[in-house]
């Protein structure tokens, strides 16, 4: 009999030996004394909550779900999952302010905003509007809003790309996510250009919803689960029915689809999980296994600083993006210390978190300024917003840089 096997809990919480290493690497505990840190909020608090749910501590809302505690843990305890699951299980039922609803519904707000993008972008940039949003909705007035694109990626794709993409003999499915659809269709176009250069056509899923990461962090769990089911159905159609891999360009979407669905939303995805991956990893595999090759043009020297987003760190995949960038002639790569930029999706937009958010990112911003880089590269859209707002450097997706150098 394997005694250990029978006592191991879902999140491995009884494996915690109270070494406190997680708290050392928690970006929030380092700057916000209201947050008790991952050990206390996670496995320690869980023992109390299991006895008496009333021990739920509202300070758990300060966790920004970066999972750096899990990466640091020497005992494989899923500390971040314990904390987020506790919020779902024991946290307040009605957690939805208008503000949280707006921030969390990236899909809905994006479809409303994109037809009027020029107007929306100018209006939300106005000082009085930002002041109003601050006062009425508690969205911090110092936060710079990401710009909406005029027209979505999907409408462009359906009108201008679908037919040509279907003509490629090899195909891959693309989960574009809200950012590409509403804010940066160019990134989706860059991906298509790169995949086409390798002989692959890019098709969209039959039906795609926001991955749900913002819904989860804003307490809209039922909606998150509904959307996740729709996504899983589409992913299964791609993987099982058509034998296509599903790639994404956002590290957080990838992480949510692969790991947060089973761990937090209790939706099993074992049958398709290995077929969902980040585009940079997919490209790395194709190129390194000799199944494809990219031709680059000679470009001016470009110093690129790579920032590892938290969910990328958790997946352990930063190396693939870094290696791809290194393949580009003329690119000189600096790898920044892996640390949280502080925005954590919608977290940094909230008035009550603004200070924490900027304090968490401070040393990263300093490192970026000192790096001498022309451009910062990262696989996460919200890190990009934070870096562009808080430093003097532009920030791009690695594939955008790569596509700009294709021959």
């Amino acid at each position: 009999m394997n005694i250990q096997q029978n006592t191991v809990s879902e999140n491995n919480f009884e494996q915690c030996i109270k070494c406190t290493i997680c708290t050392v690497y928690c970006p929030v505990a380092a700057v916000n004394p209201d947050y008790p840190g991952p050990k206390q909020a996670g496995p320690d608090g869980e023992r109390l909550r299991l006895k008496q749910p009333g021990f739920f501590d509202s300070a758990l809302k300060y966790c920004l779900n970066c999972k750096r505690c899990e990466v640091a843990c020497p005992s494989n305890v899923r500390i971040g999952d314990i904390i987020q699951s506790a919020r779902i299980k024991y946290g307040p039922r009605k957690n939805t302010s208008l503000r949280n609803f707006v921030l969390a519904n990236t899909d809905l707000v994006g479809s409303l905003a994109t037809p009027f993008a020029p107007v929306v972008n100018s209006v939300v940039a106005l000082k009085p509007v930002r002041f109003m949003m601050d006062k009425v909705m508690a969205i911090d007035h110092r936060r710079v809003f990401p710009k909406y694109a005029h027209g979505t990626f999907t409408s462009w794709y359906n009108k201008h790309a679908a037919a040509a993409q279907a003509a490629f003999p090899k195909q891959v499915s693309y989960f574009h996510g809200c950012y590409v659809n509403y804010n940066n269709p160019q990134l989706g176009k860059d991906l298509i250009r790169i995949m086409n250069a390798l002989g692959y056509g890019v098709r969209l899923l039959d039906r795609e919803k926001c991955c749900g990461v913002a819904l989860i962090s804003n307490g809209l769990y039922n909606q998150a689960r509904r959307q996740a089911k729709i996504n899983l159905k589409s992913i299964r159609e791609a993987v099982t029915d058509r034998d296509l891999d599903v790639i994404t360009t956002s590290s957080t979407c990838t992480f949510t689809l692969r790991d947060e669905y089973p761990h937090l939303l209790e939706l099993q995805n074992d049958d398709v999980r290995d077929r969902i991956e980040l585009a940079t990893r997919y490209l790395y595999r194709l190129i390194r296994s000799g199944q494809g090759n990219l031709k680059f043009k000679e470009g001016a020297p470009l110093r690129v600083a790579y920032h590892t987003p938290c969910h990328m760190e958790k997946m352990g995949w930063a190396n693939y993006s870094i290696e791809l960038l290194r393949m580009i002639p003329g690119v000189e790569l600096v790898v920044l210390d892996s640390q949280c930029c502080g925005i954590a999706g919608t977290y940094g937009f909230k008035k009550e978190n603004y200070r924490t958010s900027q304090a968490v990112g401070e040393s990263l911003f300093r490192q970026i300024e000192e790096s001498g880089a022309d451009v910062v590269a990262t696989d996460c859209e919200t890190c990009k917003w934070q870096i562009e707002m808080s430093t003097s450097k532009p920030c791009e997706h690695p594939l955008t840089i790569l596509a700009s150098r294709l021959a």
């Binding site: 005694i3 070494c19 406190t20 290493i21 708290t23 050392v24 690497y25 505990a29 380092a30 004394p33 209201d34 008790p36 840190g37 050990k39 206390q40 320690d44 899990e70 990466v71 640091a72 843990c73 020497p74 005992s75 494989n76 290995d274 990893r281 790395y284 595999r285 390194r288 760190e313 958790k314 997946m315 352990g316 995949w317 190396n319 790898v335 040393s363």
Partner: protein
């Protein structure tokens, strides 16, 4: 992913081995399941403090010759007195090149002071920590031991009790600050790291210096717990410059500030030499070919393997699950390597915690080149370094860091010589 060497485990042994190989131009990766036991460091690196019978060691190199006769399976004996003696300069150089400034002499142990005030023989100590040349005499006769109010991982009374045995007069002082009050709201998280972050702020360091000056009056020295300098490296020097009484640090219970700083320094050094560091990943399986390890598969990287010419098993001992004890045997979980242990479980440990415990000497079976043995056969390109080795008692003999450092260099040496 293709490397020259893949090292499993990012603790002291894995990191030093990686640094040595990277310095020699090898492309290395370290795969580590989480942060390592360096986070529990005392601020010192022991080489050999006691012989197996408990006799205190003064000259570790001389004692190694004797140890080789008594304990031929000890890693020092396997590596050989000659190798050890030759490489005892290289180890501190590697630490220093990473920015960890250590002092000590491999021909003469000095004494470090534990968080309980006990004196233990050691080899290298990070600068700033209290040491003494003789266990009979402290470098002062009247000292002020300062603690932070509400800090539970440092015990001035215990320390004073030990110091008084040597006739040292001990004064006490406590520090409190508004910023410390804020972190005290979570009393169980009032730990060294959180406190050190308070003193990373210039204004708090200034107040601390003023309070120390006040409390130190009439004392020859001041002792502080290691709660200085997590975010900035110069905090302790700045503090010293503001206090005219000699200032010493003593280690606290974990997490250990000197340990965290050492870990980060080593990792930084490894990466600056071109090493790739994969944290938070677990090796799940290995592919073999002709008695050699061909590639490793991990939890994070799925179907993309880590390929290398050589592999190093530096996964540590029981704490980091490099070794796992089942009811009847000791298992090495990554490769299923052969392990050294006594079959009768009753002999694994005694009921007296501080006794020499047999389980501490259990470990991975290796040949005389520290190659891992599986099913009785040494694997050509798989070496073992660090705490997972068999045949030594890191706590009782005070040799844990020495075995990690020297075995890391030994294995790197073998790989570089192409054995």
């Amino acid at each position: 992913m293709k490397f020259d060497v893949v090292i499993i485990g990012g603790g002291l042994a894995g990191m030093v081995c990686g640094i040595r190989l990277a310095e020699a131009g090898k492309k290395c990766a370290i795969v580590s399941q989480g942060q390592s036991a360096i986070h529990f460091s005392s601020g010192s690196f022991d080489l050999l403090g006691r012989m197996p019978d408990g006799t205190e060691v003064s000259d570790p190199i001389a004692a190694m010759a004797e140890l080789g006769k008594i304990a031929p399976e000890h890693p020092y004996a396997i590596m050989g007195e000659k190798f050890c003696a030759e490489h005892l300069q290289q180890a501190p150089e590697i630490l220093r090149s990473a920015g960890i400034s250590v002092s000590g002499d491999c021909r003469k142990n000095h004494f470090r002071i534990t968080p309980m005030g006990k004196m233990k023989p050691t080899w290298l100590t990070i600068d700033g920590y209290l040491t003494t040349a003789s266990s009979e005499r402290l470098p002062f006769e009247k000292v002020c031991i300062i603690n932070v109010e509400g800090f539970l991982d440092f015990y001035p009374e215990f320390i004073a009790e030990e110091f008084r045995k040597q006739g040292v007069v001990c004064n006490f002082g406590t520090i409190n600050l508004p910023d410390l009050e804020r972190i005290r709201r979570n009393p169980s998280e009032m730990r060294s790291v959180n406190i050190a972050r308070v003193f990373d702020r210039e204004e708090n360091l200034e107040v601390l210096a003023a309070k120390i000056r006040e409390m130190a009056s009439g004392c020859e020295a001041v002792i502080l717990p290691a709660i200085i300098g997590i975010g900035r490296d110069d905090a302790f020097d700045v503090l010293k410059s503001k206090v005219n009484t000699p200032l010493y640090l003593l280690p606290t219970l974990p997490p250990s500030i000197p340990g965290i700083k050492a870990q980060q320094a080593l990792q930084h050094r490894f990466r600056s030499l071109g090493g790739e560091y994969f944290l938070g990943d677990t090796v799940l399986s290995a592919e073999w070919k002709d008695g050699r390890v061909k590639e490793l598969f991990t939890a994070n990287h799925g179907d993309i393997p880590f390929r290398a010419d050589h592999f190093v098993l530096a996964t540590g001992s029981f704490f980091s699950k490099g070794l796992v004890a089942t009811p009847d045997r000791i298992v090495e979980p990554v490769f299923g390597a052969d392990t050294v242990f006594t079959p009768d479980r009753a002999e694994w440990y005694t009921l007296r915690f501080f006794d020499r415990q047999n389980y501490q000497a259990f470990g991975v079976r290796t040949d005389r080149s520290l190659r891992v043995v599986k099913e009785g056969v040494p694997i050509e390109n798989l070496y073992c370094a660090g705490a997972g080795l068999a045949g030594f008692h890191p706590v009782q003999e005070g040799c844990g860091a020495g075995v990690s450092l020297l075995s890391a260099l030994f294995v790197a040496d073998r790989i570089l010589k192409g054995e």
